[in-house]
């Protein structure tokens, strides 16, 4: 459990912005801006944040689907930042991704058998009859049957398609899978099925997940540790219950904006003023200070480093641990439910 599988060092990914007649670079989007992160073997690291905070870019950069601007990525202590060609392909066999929209990530003109079997053929693991048998085994693992082998993506429901994508990601028996918003396009009842399936597969195949989502309840349900991102940086990484013990003011605001499924607590959300600033010209100093109710002068100048506040609870805030947020409606709700149970 304690062995590190993925590690990044000051990882940055900037996208150039071009403009004018000669497509000159006029600026850059700081999508991921200095991320240090560690994922241990067998755990699920959840990544949450609002749209545009860089969570998807981070996932793709770690898999080398995007080339990092600077920084380093380690997979099992091997530096994979610069590797190319055959070496990269070999590492990629161990790292897979499941995307948000299953319809867009399955070729509409290729049968399920060939879609799921493609990684096997490309990497020379199996072909023909053997490939078919392996695909069937995978499909059965995700709850599909032999009848489905020769069908096309449009013949399936959204939940089934997402399960096909999961089967394909698992075809090469990877160690690490990035789940990029895997359930955000499915319904609640189907979402529960998919989440349960992913947990079962994790136990069975000994997988390590990076679970990216904007839905806090889902991420919390899936993860062992949780990382909150804001404007390309990590605000907080916690092994504890984020709903009970948020230490970064942004995490607190994010947590208390989640609607509570109990009408007694209606109208209690803590409202964060303003909106996420543009990642093209992020504010200097702490990126959250323009919206933070605890902001001091130091926050405008100095970018707070990620500090360990004990037990692996990392927070990037000058005043972490000293701030009193009060009790959010969510915490009170959790207490009331616990009381009712006991």
């Amino acid at each position: 459990m304690s062995e590190t599988l993925i590690r990044t060092e000051n990882l940055k990914k900037h996208f150039p912005l071009t403009g004018g007649v000669f497509r000159k670079v006029i600026g850059k989007v700081h999508a991921v801006d200095g991320v240090n992160l560690e994922i241990k073997k067998g755990e699920t690291l959840g990544v949450v944040g609002e749209s545009g905070c860089g969570k998807t870019t981070l996932g793709r950069t770690i898999l080398r689907l995007l080339d990092p601007t600077s920084g380093k990525i380690f997979f099992e202590d091997e530096d994979i930042t610069e590797i190319k060609g055959r070496a990269l392909r070999k590492v990629r066999m161990n790292m897979q991704i499941v995307f948000q929209d299953p319809m867009a990530s399955l070729d509409p003109r290729v049968t399920i058998k060939n879609s799921v079997g493609e990684p096997l053929v490309v990497n020379g693991v199996a072909r023909g009859r053997k490939m078919r048998d392996m695909v069937l085994e995978l499909l059965e693992k995700v709850g599909l049957t032999e009848d489905h082998l020769n069908r096309f993506p449009h013949e399936f429901s959204g939940g089934q398609r997402q399960r096909i994508c999961i089967a394909r990601a698992l075809a090469l028996n990877p160690k690490f899978v990035v789940m990029d918003e895997p359930t955000s396009s499915t319904d609640v009842s189907v979402q529960a099925q998919t989440l349960n399936l992913m947990k079962d597969l994790q136990d069975e195949f000994d997988l390590t997940y990076m679970f990216i989502s904007h839905n806090l309840s889902v991420v919390k349900h899936m993860s062992d540790r949780l990382t909150v991102m804001y404007l390309g940086k990590i605000a907080e990484t916690t092994p504890y219950d984020i709903f009970r013990k948020p230490l970064h003011p942004y995490s607190f605001a994010l947590v208390s904006a989640v609607p509570i499924p109990d009408p007694q607590f209606a109208g209690r959300a803590h409202i964060l003023s303003g909106e996420v600033p543009s990642p093209i010209s992020p504010p200097p100093g702490c990126r959250f200070y323009p919206r933070c109710m605890f902001a001091q002068d130091v926050c405008k100048v100095e970018d707070p480093p990620l500090r360990d506040l004990g037990g692996g609870h990392l927070v990037a805030c000058h005043f972490a641990g000293e701030l009193d947020f009060g009790k959010s409606a969510q915490m009170e709700y959790a207490d009331s439910v616990e009381e009712a149970v006991s």
Binding site: V188, L216, A257, P259, P261, V337
Partner: protein, 392 residues
């Protein structure tokens, strides 16, 4: 039940079908619901359960190959001055008559704020267009002219000018009894001013500036606010929010939900919130209608739904949401998936996925009945009863 005075909209046994190449999709199969004046009602269900089709049927926006096959959409239109109530069946109106209702008496905010405002017109002009189209602005034009003259009066120094302006003001004041038809230019100006007023009402920062901006210059949350302002421009009796906050981030969603709650008390519009998020329902609604595969399955007050759901589907839906306070290894799930509406299951449409299903569920379709006081459900085997009509 409730009297016509309290109810503003009553949907009675609505049937809508879509005639596609693969067959007839029975999208709505006897939907029943009512909305009380000044209430917020939630319309909850999964993809394809007919929430949006219901909204479209109310607004007369069901387009070919869709067709309203039967049922009534009764709108109780209350006159603002006389308090008189006229009963209109929206399903029977012609498209011209519907133009009078849509955007004026009933308006809608759609899900995706990126696609709905027209990208080539300024925000303020788009809101002003609605106002121009539906409202009599002759009084507003006079007010605007007087306000302008009063401003000029405070700035002028010469006595000759002063007397001239004062006489003009007196002339306009006189006209207020029976306002004349204003010219097009001043209508446009007055409508624009009103549009800015609307933007201010939805708590838009710097409304004068935003009115002159194009939709792409605004963020998602601000665009959604502008759309809400547009929908409320004519003081509608009913505002339908079709997944209005689904595309927004949680922090922005919280801002918009708070705004909706505030506006409801300020202007007394009845709101229909269409959503799949139980949290949003708990946050905003007094009453909930749960839909499944084109049918109404449960209808009750919000607190009631969260504490004592009657229908097995509602109960399953509530359990399947990951809770933020519990550490459960597995989520309780509803097996199977939403049925295909070209050949829906016989009897109760939920029976293939229901744990309590018996013979009767396969054979007869349950009707929406008041099984408990003020709590309607369509189920042969409701989860609990306390001296209700059925106890099986």
């Amino acid at each position: 039940m409730t009297t016509a005075d309290e109810i503003v909209l009553h949907v009675k046994d609505l049937y809508v079908s879509f005639y596609t190449y693969e067959g007839v999709v029975k999208a709505l199969d006897g939907v029943i619901m009512f909305l009380r004046r000044g209430d917020t009602m939630g319309l909850v269900g999964e993809t394809g359960c007919g929430k949006s089709v219901t909204a479209k049927a109310i607004l007369g926006l069901v387009e070919a190959p869709g067709r309203i096959e039967g049922g009534k959409v009764i709108f109780f239109d209350k006159d603002a001055e006389t308090q008189e109530i006229t009963e209109l069946d929206l399903a029977q109106l012609t498209s011209e008559e519907m133009l009078e209702i849509r955007g004026n008496k009933i308006s809608i905010v759609f899900q995706d704020p990126a696609t709905y405002p027209n990208p080539v017109f300024r925000i303020g002009d788009q809101i002003a267009e609605v106002i121009e189209l539906h409202q009599d602005l002759s009084l507003d034009v006079l007010y605007m002219k007087i306000a302008k003259l009063e401003l000029a009066l405070s700035e002028t120094n010469s006595d000759v000018n002063r007397a001239e302006i004062e006489s003009k003001i007196a002339y306009y004041r006189q006209q207020m009894e029976d306002p004349p038809e204003p010219d097009k230019k001043s209508i446009k100006e007055a409508a624009k001013l009103k549009a800015i007023e609307m933007l201010r009402m939805v708590r838009m920062p710097a409304p004068e500036q935003v009115a002159n901006q194009y939709p792409h210059e605004l963020s998602g949350g601000m665009r959604q606010r502008a759309l809400i302002a547009m929908s409320l421009a004519c003081n509608p009796s009913i505002l339908i929010c079709d997944e209005a906050t689904t595309a927004l981030d949680v922090t922005v969603q919280a801002q918009v939900l708070k705004l909706l709650n505030q506006l409801k008390t300020e202007i007394g519009t009845s709101i229909i919130v269409i959503t799949h998020d139980m949290g949003v329902v708990a946050e905003t609604c007094e009453w909930v209608n749960v839909m499944y595969a084109g049918t109404s399955v449960e209808s009750c007050a919000t607190e009631r739904l969260f504490t004592k759901p009657l229908h097995p589907y509602t109960a399953g839906l509530l359990k399947a949401v990951p809770k933020l306070h519990e550490d459960r290894e597995r989520l309780p799930q509803i097996r199977g998936s939403v049925p295909n509406l070209i050949s829906p299951p016989t009897g109760c449409r939920f029976h293939p996925r229901c744990d309590y299903a018996t013979e009767i569920c396969i054979e007869t379709k349950p009707i929406l009945e008041e099984l408990e006081p003020r709590h309607w459900a369509a189920c042969h085997h409701p989860l609990w009863t306390s001296g209700g009509k059925k106890n099986e």
